[in-house]
Amino acid sequence: MSETAIIQTSDLNLWYGENNALTDISVTIPDRRVTALIGPSGCGKSTLIRCFNRMNDLVGSCRIAGRIDFHGNNIYAKEADPVEIRRKIGMVFQKPNPFPRSVYENVAYGPRVHGIDDRKLLDMIVEQSLRNAALWEEVKDRLQDSAMGLSGGQQQRLCIARTLAVEPEVILMDEPCSALDPIATSKIEALIDELKKRYCVIIVTHNMQQAARVSDYTGFMYLGRMKEFGETKQIFEHPEEELTENYITGRFG
């Protein structure tokens, strides 16, 4: 592919105890593109994106072999700093999880943790992040209200704004729309399309139509292996693997 690689995995293997959850994954994720990971439940797609910002560090029984390079540096190297990695590689989860604080505080929290305490600068970051998450117009008059009072779709965009506030390069999304109604879903999808102009977006989704709509590249995973990875158009029009074809046409899974 004639793209700039941002994340590259080489022979990545992951075990939960004795269970080999990821096997020999070698994949190149391009920058400023949307990459979707699809596959039946338990195929390892969530496990894989959790590897990209070392979320699996928190799972005791988890063991990893192989490399994940971010801009050519192995994020599992001894000297790599997980906090810095998670700032540059942010994550949005399935269920919106705002902090039980104000809208403003939710977005300002990250920059504060990273040492920004200038009020004017914080105001600017909050506004810009909310604008980039397509939420500013809806919340600009209620910045001090509790984030818990927002609708599910707004909460999810708030979580995206919270991720953007620390200036990441990659945004990981694990089923970001599966708890949202169709209108909120289409807003998030439109947002993803905007985000890819500045960020690399990696999205895990169960909704195949969503993967087809929002992504430029699609990876099909099965039983912990990356069975096929390629341009979304090709995967959904004419996949090379019989297994991929059977999955996306609903013949199993």
């Binding site: 195949m208 004419h238 074809e245 996306i248 046409t249 609903g250 013949r251």
Partner: protein
């Protein structure tokens, strides 16, 4: 996607095939009527026209419904894309059959020059074209693209036959101007048959896409 969807597309495919056979049948019957100089037989071909266009519309609607309800992808999407083209090409083929039937009816009162049809190689050309269409439809049904592997060469033969018929027709007309009305009509028939050959190729291209995912051009 559900088994319901897959049984629905299988059923749609059978209907497309039946519609294809109706269209080829119209072409074949029109050519038989031409060989036999039988206007009654030609008239029966025209009776199928309404069924042909109704079924074309119904099948198009059905496929739009499948797309709207199930958003098919990969081989299912390719099958529906191909079927839409099969239906529109077959409708054209059936209508050329009707046009040929009209020629039979309009030239029927004139009993002179009955041997012009075989003399102009029209039956030979029709056999070649009908074989091509039939092979395209069988390839659509079975996915056996070996059947359409030589459509390009076969279409060249059909084109060559049309040129031959054209030149022979001009010769007959120059020798005996009383043949002009009939010959002119028969040259039109050769043109219709050539177009039917092109539609057989068009169907073959789309079947190739359906089976392999690759777009090709048969010329």
């Amino acid at each position: 996607m559900s088994d319901k969807f897959h049984s629905e597309i299988a059923e749609t495919k059978q209907r497309v095939l039946a519609m294809g056979h109706l269209a080829v049948g119209m072409l074949q019957e029109a050519m038989e009527a031409m060989k036999e100089h039988d206007p009654d037989r030609a008239a029966r071909v025209k009776e199928s026209k309404k069924k042909l266009s109704d079924e074309t519309n119904a099948l198009e609607e059905e496929m739009y419904r499948l797309i709207a309800l199930y958003q098919p992808v990969a081989r299912d999407m390719r099958m529906i894309a191909c079927s839409l083209r099969v239906v529109s090409s077959c409708e054209r083929i059936g209508r050329y059959g009707k046009d040929i039937a009209n020629v039979v009816i309009s030239t029927a009162p004139d009993t002179r020059f009955l041997d012009l049809v075989p003399a102009l190689s029209l039956p030979l050309m029709a056999d070649e074209v009908i074989d091509m269409i039939t092979d395209s439809l069988v390839a659509y049904e079975t996915g056996d693209i070996g059947l359409i592997a030589h459509h390009s060469e076969r279409d060249d033969r059909v084109d060559a036959l049309r040129h031959t018929i054209f030149r022979d027709g001009i010769t007959y007309m120059m020798e005996d101007p009383r043949t002009i009305t009939k010959c002119t009509n028969y040259l039109m028939v050769a043109r219709y048959l050539e177009r039917c050959g092109d539609h057989a190729c068009k169907i073959a291209e789309k079947v190739h896409y359906m089976v392999t995912g690759e777009q090709i051009e048969i010329r």
